[in-house]
Symmetry: C4
Subunit: 426 residues, 4 copies
């Protein structure tokens, strides 16, 4: 790089001629020798002839040219912070100066807006896609239009008033079903499968025949709604493969099964079914669809996705710390007669409970070294809780400004029409 640099002072002493370069009306003056500093660039090519011109005119940005000329003079390409990096890149390209010549100190300045544009393009491109999608098959058949209407009715609660009502009905049935499930867990409800499972007393009745119970009726009504809703959504969905690749839809499908649990005779089968019941509970997460319109939640969503790979390491660190502290706890305490645990799995449980600072107190260190391990474990836990925060906060600040820009950006461009009549003095 140093060989490129021609000291402007040395050049002044001798034969080098002055050259005037007018760029967009602004007059710049320099020595022709200075322009030779960057061989291959536009100006060097123009000057590097037998008869270099004494004046040049370019219809380009004059201020950016000032910085390009400074590159010729000093051999270092600094970027002004008041110009957009994309504008600089375009002008640099015209003058035959590569953007990679930018000094490390100004590299962040030079790149910043380019990265912003790239991030803006990546962020929620699906929104654009979706909007144009319906536009394309505008002349499609009537049945298709009906499908879309039904789909919107069941999928997007903000599309119409009926859709809102359906969303509320759906939520009501989810909560009703969950309440019915909760009431079935009452300890002395002897007809409940939970009772039978715990006591082993099937009261002489065959599990296959459904028992008439008020809760069963509720369950039946709920299941009918769920089946109806799922069928409507499957039929009307625009793309079947995409529908079944969505995790929430699979959850919906699995949430239909508990209803059939009464029909299966095996106890183990029923137990497996009851786990599927929890799935219904997960359906409550559908409420979040209603919350995606809150700005903070949307930003948080983006920030968490961007931090996902980093945050994934956290459970791993947690696991390793659990293994290490659990083992150390075991080794310091196992000889003790009064130790709270009998095998190492309890030690791992203790480590988890201490690392998350929950601290139930069911397993405890009693010896001195054990308490030392416990103290260390608690302090590492506190640190682990804190660690993911900077990543999320950094990404949140970034996406907050990106989304604010995205949402405030104009969709359509206005025409160039001057409000008032022409009135400039020539």
């Amino acid at each position: 790089m140093s060989s490129v640099r021609v000291s402007p002072m040395k050049a002044c002493d001798g034969s080098s001629e002055k050259i005037v370069i007018k760029v967009g009306g602004v007059k710049y003056e320099t020595h022709t020798s200075t322009l030779m500093a960057l061989p291959g660039s536009r100006l060097a090519n123009l000057v590097d002839t037998n008869k270099p011109p004494s004046e040049l005119f370019f219809d380009r940005n004059p201020e950016v040219f000032g910085h390009v000329l400074q590159y010729y003079r000093s051999g270092k390409l600094h970027c002004p912070t008041n110009f957009c990096g994309l504008l600089l890149e375009e002008e640099f390209a015209f003058w035959g100066v590569s953007g990679t010549d930018v000094e490390p100190c100004c590299w962040a300045t030079f790149r910043q807006n380019k990265e912003t544009v790239e991030a803006l393009a990546q962020i929620e491109p699906s929104v654009m896609e979706k909007e144009e999608g319906p536009g394309q098959n505008h002349q499609s058949r009537n049945s298709r239009a009906w499908m879309q209407k039904i789909w919107a009715l069941f999928d997007n609660p903000y599309s119409s008033f009926t859709a809102k009502v359906i969303a509320i009905i759906s939520l009501f049935f989810i909560l009703l079903s969950f309440t019915a499930f909760s009431l079935q867990t009452e300890p002395n409800r002897y007809l409940s499968p939970f009772y039978i499972l715990r006591t082993g007393n099937s009261t002489g009745k065959c599990m296959g025949t459904p028992l008439v119970d008020s809760l069963d009726v509720v369950e039946l009504v709920c299941s009918v709604w769920f089946v109806f809703e799922f069928v409507m959504r499957v039929v009307s969905c625009p793309s079947k493969p995409r529908f079944f690749m969505n995790v929430m839809n699979i959850v919906d499908l699995l949430a239909l099964f508990p209803w059939f649990s009464r029909c299966c005779s095996s106890m183990y089968c029923w137990k497996a079914m009851s786990f599927l019941h929890v799935m219904r509970c997960i359906r409550v997460f559908r409420i979040f669809k209603l919350m995606q319109h809150v700005f903070g939640v949307r930003v948080l969503n983006h920030a968490l996705r961007a931090s996902a790979t980093s945050l994934c390491t956290l459970p791993l660190v947690f696991l390793i710390c659990t293994l290490i502290f659990g083992t150390m706890f075991f080794l310091t305490e196992f000889e003790n007669e009064n130790a709270y645990f009998s095998d190492i799995s309890s030690c791992f449980w203790w480590a988890v409970v201490t690392l998350t600072t929950v601290g139930y107190g069911d397993v405890l260190p009693i010896s001195g070294p054990g308490k030392l391990v416990g103290s260390l474990c608690a302090m590492v836990g506190v640190l682990l809780i804190i660690l993911p925060l900077p990543i999320i906060i950094n990404n949140f600040i970034k996406f907050s400004s990106l989304l604010k820009t995205k949402y405030s950006m104009p969709r359509t461009k206005e025409k160039h029409i001057v409000d008032t009549a022409p009135s400039s003095s020539a």
Copy 2:
């Protein structure tokens, strides 16, 4: 967009004439063909005649025009970061260039100050309103002025010395009343209604007749003050409807009722009344009025309000996690003979206690799968505690700078008077 762009290089080759545009003394030079790139704009209209002028003069900002000219040249409207967006908008409007043409990379720059001004206007407009409010009814009747004085006395502790004294007296009575209430809860105070409620032993006395007790006297004195204070505030308040829509005033009103609890004969009535007693405790929150002058608290107040809609989703997520983990805990543990719980409500309680990392240890998982659910629950809890932070921090940083600007902004503008005598050389 690409059709708009006229390559300045192509234009140089031929018939296009040069045009000099002098803007505020600065000379810009370009081709007339370049100016035709944006049809409908002021310059295009001026040039698009049979005899385009060879020179134009505008008494406008020369530097901003440089960027407008660059838009003609390159077809892309970038914004300089060293100019205020509002100034740019005004100049763009003059030249017939729409602000919506600004490139995505520079959109945030362009909008930033406009958003700041809008946010500054929205922030605490009530301050302005209040200041002008008294000014309007300045010539009102004497009685009205008295009302305002009394209102200030009881509502704004910073208005006068007497107001401060009243605020301290009020605080003293709140604390006195609370202490009296606390002392009444002593377990072997047999005259106390709490004693009667717990033991069911009313000691043969009718609840309707008030018992003579030293604490009752204290209670009486406090209640007299509270009634006096409330009456004064109701009478003197400027707007009755607004007064009763304020939550704190409703709390004040409800806090008057416990006094009457002695007069009601039913035990259930008394119990309901004792809950109202806690309301008095809430009155202590009035101390916060004294703290609104601390800058950090004020910013936090604004940040929390701005994050309110986002933060409202947090309790909901908490609730859903409680339901899901509680149910999973129930399903993994209910078969166990030694399970700590008898019904599912205890499982929900366990989930809450674990999600908040409180971990009392009264309900515990004992089986392997149960402990796994517990570990997961504790880790999700740690994450949930962390999640709202980025939203609050982001808003806090934003409002901190907004409020700092707001408070440092001058209220009145000075006149333009030069200190020294004129001394420029013409």
Copy 3:
């Protein structure tokens, strides 16, 4: 403000003459009518004569004048972000434009650097003060110089090697004294006053006569050092009043008393003394003196001090929440036979333990409403833990950049000497 504005368009149509203003070599051109927009300003005064000059020259900053001229044109004073606010203020003052005319959108830009300079001046001014302090009484008597040496020896561990050794010796004695104290608390050490206090068995010995014990000897040695150190510091300190106003020195003084506890015969006296013993422990905080040189700790120190008034509200909010949740807990549980508490003070203890998410589990809600209050209390606690963070983080970021600037700023200014010989072409 609107009356001030003169539309430049209207002015172009008529009689107004053009005027050329040359500022520092840059030529600006405008109409004389434009300059009349701000009556009282320097340019308006110059133009507002019978024969306004056609050209003016000022040896001032040309670029800033461009923005001042823009104020004349548009009636709005925007600030460029690439100029220092202090420079702008100076130039504005010359042109007779008040800084209070700056638009709200640019006010933060205009004030930013002024605030930075003010904050830099306020931050650690004691450093400067101290440095110049010794310089003033440089020719003081010999004894005074000795005093200063001894003071530095005992107060600033970084002043010399001997000072470091003394600091380490001091730390060693603190830890030794603390260890001796800890060993005295052994449950079956019957000579220990703790044993006597607990069992009430004074073993027939008079407390006034010191018991010969190995720990007593250690205690004696430590106390001799502490007395010696304190006397040296008192004698050599530069200002006695300031010395005794320092909290740490009062702690040192109080930490001398435990030694005399053996001489007092009363048990209650001894108990009071033992609390003073803890004071010695506080002396360990002197280690922080060694840590003030760590950058992060220094910034945190400043950030915490700046957040002090805001953070002070936190314990208050904690207290109020404790009172409210404690009372609510009492009211929901007191009727229960199996309630974990007997009076309301236990409820307050429960509220504190739950709000801080410690959750010992010694007091617990058992009824449904009690558990609801507990859930709410835990969630409020989690929120309270989070709330102070934004304040500290905001101040930390601010002071981090301020201190970095402060420490990188040059102490002395270099002279203006050009390295190379003069070589410009005239």
Copy 4:
């Protein structure tokens, strides 16, 4: 400083001549007396002759000269924010103006990019070093090339597919060994040394003779792999001293010993060995090598290292708080008959458990003052958990932007070649 300033106004009144300075084509005009304000600077030297020139030409940056000239005029050197500080420094040096003259308000602006460049140079210089390292001994012998290949195979899982397989095998053996170790801790596994250690019943067998057990076989296989891996790494490592200074390699070495634990006859020896076993667990941290490619983890790594000295004070503060609160707890509770502890070490354990908000509930305050100490301790604990966050967040934000710049910076510079043919009008 004030003596330096020459009021431009005063100079206007008299004898001082005007001088035109053309810098890179831009014409600046000032008084010669103004240039005398900074004696020793380049312009002052040129002017300070009998016949000062009336015009000067310099082939330097015109805009920066504008700011230098402003320094002559006002005596204060402010920096524009739109120019890179390094460019300013270079230009200032040419004009004979020292960078230390920059005003405090602009100092941060002036230094910012310089600090960024220094930070970029310090950050991960090893990457560059490593890349050039292999290039130097490119013509080394065949055996050396083989060594490097083996080293890469065992050290860098990303170097080749085989390396990845080896990494997975290694991880598998670590987990297998850990599982075998865990299974050996089963309470009624009478052959296990843990059983013997706890019960003291050696079942009449000599510990020296290895017991045939399925877990022992697994252990043997694992150990063979670990020895093989370690030998390969030792042999192939490029620098032995550096290899043994790495903590992870020492851990690997210690992790080989447990295998020999069966051969030692003493119980105490075995116990010591079992602690080495935990070392193997630490080897799992090797997984982090695979995660260093995640951006967030890398930034967090840098942020934690930069915050290390600050974070080191945290455990110290924790320790001091533990000592103080532990002692205070002891003094408030030791007289109580029902106190949960018998000696002061339990109090320290309680303090740690409360400060970290774990709160097991095995040691508890029962008296009023004890509960007060406990409340204080819990609140201080909450504050301590929060304190390190601002330091980490501040450093994370800093390193996040630094690393983003570092990774986006071009490795090689392109040549200056203009795409299109020359086409400017002279």
